[in-house]
Amino acid sequence: MSTIINQLKRYAQHTRLSAEEKAAMRNALIRHIAAHPACASVFQDRSISSPFSLEVLRSKKSLSALVIGGLLLGGSVSFAAEGAVPGDIFYPIKVRVNEPVRGAFAITPRAKADWGVRLVERRLGEIERIASLPGRSLAAEQATQRRLEEHTAEARKRIANLTARGDNERAQVATEHFMEVLRAHEAVLEDLSERAIPKNRGELLPEDRSEDEGYFQNEHDDSASALQETVRKIRNIRANMENDKKKLRREGRNGDKNENSIVPHLPVRGTAPAVRTLGEKEDRSEEIRTRPNTGR
């Protein structure tokens, strides 16, 4: 019985959204947020204040409480920092504490390569988040893009290290995974760079449109250019990696005649789907549903 459960758990570990699917879902949710913004009244005096907001710095008392709370609840802060983006108060914890600690657990060359790709994915996610939300900082975007370039170079170096050690198979898998991640995020970034951000800003803050439109327009132009530049860089990297992959395949073919049985087919998806709903549902709270033929 434990064998079956272990098999189930192993199966479960491999059952997940592909990088492309996850990015597509994320992009759909971003569009949904823009189309269905939170009520303005929610943010007036709300007690739901984001722990990532820079507003805590306005009060020395709240800053002291934050620091003391962070020391006492180090684990919680570390956890909370995971969602931070450049400009947030917990972002330095994310990149200078969380990531080095997690990276230290990557001991084998393969684990190091996987973690390298994961870091690239995290930076791409941050760029997307910054680009799609109002009130963003162009400087933060550019800083993240610089970090993205560093991580990308490091990831490629780690994958090349696998090849240098003679592990072509793992290098090929890591390369394909990396390319899939880049492909998924390239689609999202391209979509974000093409969108009319000032229009979105107007939808989110209709009362602000007449006063802030001019200010944000210039920022949008610079940001759209920065995003397009990132997309171009990703395309170049993918093209180079495609060559690496072909080279690895040639080397693999020479050493292993069963190539076709090794590489699993990865799904190819088109553009991100529109927000999908399951049909009209009555507006009801999340009460616990019972099954059609329920029974104890």
């Binding site: 189930l8 192993r10 959204l17 996850k22 949710l29 913004p37 399951l278 104890r296």
Partner: protein, 183 residues
């Protein structure tokens, strides 16, 4: 300038909420998808339900409602949506699921062949376990939730959940023995 600063404050509050929401998506999307997949045995439907789960979550957050336990809340939404799907009686067969592309078995090439049969068997066994036992089994052994958490999500006592898990395991054992016998 003063007016602008107030608007930036509002923007930052809003963007903080949206960032947090997306961070929760990044953290829980795979787990929620996995739960839906093992309940529905249909990848596309599982993706739909997972996405709808987060859309429902956003609706709650946008209305200013506070959530104490995000993980449990997401599983409750997903569970309710799965039951809605059952009500629609649009269940797909295992064969149909296997025909679909994008069945992400593994990125590890060496494991691809040896584990495929194993995974197909595991999926087939799970499919034959009826709800509510399957619900309890998936939440306990695949989602990794405790009996207490499952009881809270589903809305029954811990004792009921323990019984359901036990019955699911017994059913699984019988199915596995029958499978071994016939193959």
């Amino acid at each position: 300038m003063r007016v602008y600063r107030l608007k930036v404050k509002k923007n930052m509050k809003k963007s903080g909420q949206e960032e947090q929401f997306l961070a929760w998506h990044d953290q829980f999307a795979d787990a929620i998808f996995r739960h839906c997949f093992f309940r529905l045995s249909d990848r596309e439907k599982a993706k739909d339900v997972a996405q709808e789960t987060f859309i429902r979550l956003w609706k709650y957050l946008a209305e200013g409602k506070e959530i104490v336990n995000m993980r449990a809340f997401l599983y409750r939404i997903a569970n309710n949506l799965v039951i809605d799907e059952y009500r629609k009686k649009e269940m797909f067969s295992l064969d149909q699921m296997q025909e679909e592309t994008g069945f992400d078995i593994s990125f590890d090439p060496k494991r691809a062949i040896e584990s495929r049969d194993e995974f197909e068997r595991a999926q087939m066994l799970i499919d034959q376990i009826p709800d509510p036992y399957r619900e309890a089994l998936v939440m306990r052994h695949i989602d990794g939730l405790s009996v207490k958490e499952i009881a809270r999500i589903v809305g029954v006592s811990e004792n009921v959940i323990s019984v359901r898990i036990h019955r699911a395991m017994e059913k699984l054992k019988t199915l596995a023995q029958n499978y071994e016998h016939n193959h």
